[in-house]
Symmetry: C2
Subunit: 317 residues, 2 copies
Amino acid sequence: MNARSAPRRVVALSGGVGGARFAYGLSRALEPGALTVIVNTGDDFTHWGLPICPDLDTVMYTLAELSDDERGWGLKDETFHALEGVRRYGGEAWFMLGDRDLATHLQRAQALAAGDSLTQVTDTLCRALGVPARVLPMADEPCRTMIDTERDGTLPFQQWFVGRRAEPKVQKVWLDGDPPASAAVVQALAGADLVIIGPSNPYVSIDPILSRPGVRDALRGPVVVAVSPIVGGRAVKGPLAEMIPALGGEPASAAAIARHYGSLLAGIVVEHGDEPPIRGVSVLACDSIMKNREDRVRLARDCLAFADGLLARRANS
Amino acid sequence: MNARSAPRRVVALSGGVGGARFAYGLSRALEPGALTVIVNTGDDFTHWGLPICPDLDTVMYTLAELSDDERGWGLKDETFHALEGVRRYGGEAWFMLGDRDLATHLQRAQALAAGDSLTQVTDTLCRALGVPARVLPMADEPCRTMIDTERDGTLPFQQWFVGRRAEPKVQKVWLDGDPPASAAVVQALAGADLVIIGPSNPYVSIDPILSRPGVRDALRGPVVVAVSPIVGGRAVKGPLAEMIPALGGEPASAAAIARHYGSLLAGIVVEHGDEPPIRGVSVLACDSIMKNREDRVRLARDCLAFADGLLARRANS
């Protein structure tokens, strides 16, 4: 790796926690201005009359070092007094909205109502929080990730994931709505040297981004690398390990992730021992579990060095 | 006073703190089910995209013993973490919305958006909080109390009262909008034996109620008594003492209050020494300042006994 071959324009694709932590690492490993994070909005929903964007907020809070890393969601030093009040009134109390977090949803609601796009609102919020990267919602218009379950029929994602703790077995994941990628997303992808798919759930976090009209075309230019969210056959977080057999027809593994993304990938980053035996995809095996902030930056640096090799190879071919 | 002459159906008219504290006293002095409180909604406004009803909430919280009596507004054990967040985002931070308080505004916003009337929403909220009285907004449709000032032109009430600390001198108070009294308000007034105007500001709290179409007619039946918000020439709370010379053309006094309400009143309750020398209005002089909850109940009992006398006199005439 040398200075000239270092990718200057990097885009990360992200869902919630795993992707956000990896994006944090990238934001610290790259020069200021180099990173754009494109975030899934299929999980977005309306709660207490406010538009909630769980993945966008997780990315924003994580990048700003405001997230509660132990709890795994929301803001640190959070309180839940509004929620207590709503519960007392008999309102909806199944989704944990904190008091500090509410400021985000209230500000977003007002800005959207005033006519700002979700892309503009997100930019304004990120600047106020000092987020050291550009964060883009995948689309400005809403779409909703829906989960067909064996037991409980079709549920909106948050109702399944939070409301029922991801317990009802998944038969199918689909999007209600098909908005195009925002212009900012298409530009960021088309102008990128490198796109890294973070260690997020392919079905509910990454596929919604990849399936936005305009995205596949924009991905023809950059080198695309994925970080496997499956380590030793298990998901680092969330219900992914159970979803792969049901939706992908094979056991959960880094190889299943590589096969899922198929020809899109130039390379995949996996845990030591998880190397998938797949032709045509370069593999980096490394320590991929992020237990702390140092791990995130180290993993990001490993991925960038790996990607530099792929970029150099492409430049020489 | 005997059991038969005791008024069974009592309506209190109220603005914020003073009226709410007096209504608390009435709610504890009267039998359950006897009290209806009709509350000014001219101070209502939209903030953070949510409908805020300061007087309704003060009455509701005070009657439920949830109000912060020391601070004089809002809920006890309140936190302001959402407000901190909004301030960080550069949002509107001049009005102190607490986290627990937010639950009320969020629930109200959703219920109104779902098509409930403000009367219905208020009833639902009051039941959840265990408010031991019926609380009615003066009208279901909005109107806005506007303040014409010498220095800063015309300001909506909260912008003048909270945003500018009631400092710009008042030239005129007027209502933007003229919605009729709700059906529930008209029924409560027409069916009441006794209507007590609480120690609230006549111009910004009580006149908006009295001027709702339908109210004056409904007030022909019951005996009407007012509790003076002016004690020894000063307002117990708020900017009233400065408003009376500007708007009423005379020094602040209990007599000015009696003259303001005019022929509507059968009686007025004032502090010892404040007895107004006005013909045709019965006067009760008593300890009218409410320093604690016991004072509120004592003042309410004094007022009810005084009103019993007026009711008995009317029955015998």
